[in-house]
């Protein structure tokens, strides 16, 4: 299954290697990794998405915590959360077919951020499937896409529950059962995936 971990790590040289090395050692491929500053001074926030067995969530989280520079780890699993990705897409566009692309961009609620004589750059945020949808329609008919740069996923829990609050509340192990339940519900189509 797909696991999503949010980790707060000390903003120091080599910390990314330590985190990445942990996944490498377990022979787990990281599908997506984003890192940036967080609301906490001196700490960066990572969103790590990987494909691994359902049981491995506990071990990965426990192992991440064993890294000296890791301060907080949240296993998002299927908890209510918002996930976004940012994509910059450069497409070939002459004055003749610009308007068609403008229309597409409008439909996908994306933006044009650069316009050149023979190309334009589109900025788009959204869930993975939406970005892929745009790329697909841009390439329909003719191969227009010249370059794609995607940020990888960023995830945040819904509501007030930051990882720090959850930890203070002592949530952790017992949560995973709830998550498993909500996963089943999700698969059964009972809960709409939040957009």
């Amino acid at each position: 299954m797909l696991h999503t971990f949010v980790a707060y790590v000390e903003d120091l040289p080599g910390v990314l290697t330590r985190v990445a090395s942990l996944f490498r050692r377990l022979n787990i491929n990281i599908n997506s990794l984003t890192v940036g500053r967080s609301e906490r001074a001196g700490l960066s926030r990572m969103t790590i998405v990987c494909e691994a067995s359902a049981e491995s969530g506990h071990r990965i989280r426990a192992s991440l915590y064993k890294l000296e520079n890791v301060v907080d780890v949240d296993d998002i699993a299927q908890a209510p959360s918002v996930t976004r990705e940012l994509a910059l897409i450069k497409v070939a566009a002459t004055p003749r077919d610009r308007s068609q692309i403008f229309e597409l961009v409008e439909v996908f609620r994306a933006r044009i951020v650069d316009l050149a004589p023979e190309s334009m750059m589109i900025e788009m945020t959204g869930v993975e499937s939406k970005i892929e949808g745009l790329i697909q329609v841009l390439n329909e008919g003719e191969e227009r896409v010249l370059e794609i740069c995607r940020s990888g996923k960023m995830t945040m829990r819904r509501g007030h529950h930051t990882s720090g609050v959850l930890r203070a509340m002592g949530a952790g192990e017992s949560e995973s059962e709830e998550r498993a339940e909500s996963l089943e519900a999700l698969e059964a189509g009972a809960v709409a995936e939040p957009e």
Binding site: S21, E55, R59, R61, A62, Y65, K66, E68, G172, E173
Partner: protein
């Protein structure tokens, strides 16, 4: 500077902030951390540190290979419970430490390795003897540091000590650039104190889990305690003993757990796993409850995990949350310091009648009692079991025994009965050949008053035998017993069982070990028959200096019983019938 002056000077550094060079700060911090002995090898990038050594009250042992330094620090830590320290230069000096660091990592041993590196200006430029040692050791250390400023040295070393010894212990490396050693900074030992240890947030013991554990123990018909190395690291010997005695639960030990529970105790079943006796593994397979104390269900202990103790509920007490459900799924995890967890659990445990289950295990011993040394006719052959049994008998079981890896290691575990913790020092997790001799040197420095024996094979001995010079130079008293069968014995045994006796690359030509010892000014004897063993062991013990015994044992003997890797615990290879090597009851 003489020792007293050095002590006074370094005490002064600790009392008030002082301006020192980075190199001096290294030693001053070590003194502050209580270090009295270090093991190392100098070189260009660590020379400033060596130049400052004479000003500090620390004894440095010059090793013959940096792997030896790491193993000595490791042996020192295992024997004393303190943090061991190894020092090496950059490049090859640092890479030579790696096997020793990995050995300490796999067995959770607290050591701090300090390496020099090239100047920060040329870091990453492939300068002479430059290697990315923090990168190389990242997966085999608990943590490591690259320090390139003198003012960062004391905080890094103090932090390294904290990491090495807290929670689940392990090795830490501090890599210090040469310019940081040469620069000066204000040394303030107090200010360099690391932030408080951040406990693992998943390390917690629920009250309900304690109740559940107590309930399982109360209702169990066939419980077994699995006693591991964590008991020794946590200092929980007394608590485990109380649990076993109060609830009358038999105890099986891992290799690294030997000594955590007295061998002579009636509830001690002995070692479990690949070379454990059949009744020990049988009891585990038949158990309805396993109480795992500071052990990690290693593959050498479980055999095939799918067939492991399928009838048993499992309580797992371990300090490391990442060990829970890693190899074996457990019903009740109690993640915390073993001693603390047992102290909160014990008030919930009452007396219990365990006699029926203990009797069942006793009766299963009969057919499989393989310990038979006395009954073996003295046919002129010498078996390793004889040698180890006699060393145990003559030393009264009171020596610190340091073993290498292979057949002799298993025979030691079977025939030397350990009553006390830290009396067996052996590389369990990594299985590092060449470990014994250097680790014994470290152990001797930690416990100068103790009798130290090295039990080592002819293969492993030759991997680090250069450390004989270290023994000679330091004039320390260590007794070395080489179990010499002319083979890489454990590999040969696997070839015999699983590769149709194709003894490829296992026959081993060795030098005359007694002559080799003699070349180092170390006395020695070669022993060929059982009759000579006791006399030789006594000769070694009464000799004033180090002594080497070369035991020419049976060439193709194997360790029995044996569970082939990946097989179920009850599927064991037994010793072939006609030549039972069994210790009779009156020989205990």
């Amino acid at each position: 500077m003489d020792t007293n002056a050095a002590t006074q000077a370094s005490n002064a550094h600790l009392a008030a902030p002082t301006r020192l060079t980075g190199a001096e700060i290294v030693w001053a911090t070590l003194v502050g951390e209580g270090v009295t002995d270090v093991f190392g090898y100098p070189g260009g990038a660590i020379l400033p540190v060596y130049d400052a050594l004479r000003k500090f009250p620390i004894h440095h042992t010059l090793v013959r290979h940096e792997q030896g330094a790491a193993h000595m620090a490791d042996g020192y830590a295992r024997a004393s419970g303190k943090v061991g320290v190894a020092i090496a230069t950059s490049g090859p000096g640092a890479t030579n430490l790696v096997t020793g660091i990995a050995t300490a990592m796999l067995d959770s041993i607290p050591i701090v390795c300090i390496t020099g590196n090239v100047s920060s200006k040329v870091l990453g430029s492939d300068a002479f003897q430059e290697v990315d040692i923090t990168g190389i050791t990242l997966p085999v250390t608990k943590h490591n540091f690259l320090v390139n400023r003198a003012e960062d040295i004391a905080p890094a070393i103090r932090y390294a000590f904290q990491i090495a010894k807290t929670a689940r212990p392990g090795p830490v490396l501090v890599d210090i650039t040469k310019d940081a050693q040469q620069a000066t900074a204000t040394f303030d030992f107090e200010a360099a104190k690391p932030r408080a240890h951040r406990p693992h947030p998943m390390r917690k013991v629920e009250d309900s889990s304690l109740d559940q554990a107590a309930e399982l123990i109360r209702n169990a018909k066939r419980p077994v305690i699995l006693a591991g190395h964590g008991i020794i690291e946590s200092g929980a010997m007394e608590q485990v003993l109380t649990l076993a005695e109060r609830a009358q639960i038999p105890v099986a030990l891992t290799l690294l757990g030997l000594g955590a529970f007295p061998a002579s105790h009636p509830l001690n079943l002995g070692m479990m796993g690949m070379h454990g006796e059949s009744w020990v593994n049988g009891a585990i397979q038949d158990a309805d409850l396993l109480i795992a104390c500071g052990m990690r269900f290693d593959d050498r202990v479980t055999g095939s995990t799918s067939t492991y103790a399928t009838k048993a509920k499992k309580i797992h007490i371990d300090v490391d949350p990442a060990e829970i459900n890693k190899n074996i799924k457990v019903e009740v995890p109690l993640t915390g310091d073993l001693r603390e967890v047992l102290e909160t659990l014990l008030p919930r445990i009452g007396g219990r009648d365990g006699s029926a289950w203990i009797k069942t295990i006793e009766s299963s011993k009969g057919a499989s009692a393989v310990r038979d040394i006395k009954n073996l006719p003295d046919s002129g052959h010498l078996y390793a079991a004889h040698v180890i049994h006699d060393i145990w008998r003559i030393t009264g079981g009171n020596a610190i025994v340091v073993t290498d890896v292979g057949q002799h290691q298993m025979w030691e575990a079977q025939y030397y009965h350990h009553e006390k913790p830290r009396s067996l020092i052996t590389s369990g997790g990594l299985g590092t050949m060449g470990f014994a001799l250097p680790a014994a040197i470290g152990a001797k420095f930690a416990c100068a008053e103790k009798e130290v024996w090295v039990i080592v094979g002819d293969g492993g001995f030759q991997m680090t035998s250069a450390e004989l010079s270290t023994i000679a130079q330091e004039k320390i008293k260590i007794n070395i017993a080489i179990i010499n069968n002319g083979y890489l014995g454990m590999v040969r045994q696997w070839q015999e069982f699983f590769y149709e006796r194709n003894y490829e690359a296992t026959p081993l030509v060795s030098p005359d070990f007694v002559k080799l010892a003699d070349a180092h000014g170390i006395a020695g004897l070669t022993v060929h028959t059982r009759g000579e063993v006791a006399e030789a062991v006594n000769a070694a013990r009464s000799a004033p200096g180090a002594f080497l015994l070369n035991f020419k044992v049976e060439k193709e003997d194997s360790v029995y019983p044996m569970i082939p890797a990946g097989s179920a615990l009850h599927e064991m290879i037994r010793r072939p019938g006609q030549n039972p090597l069994v210790e009779s009851a009156d020989d205990k």
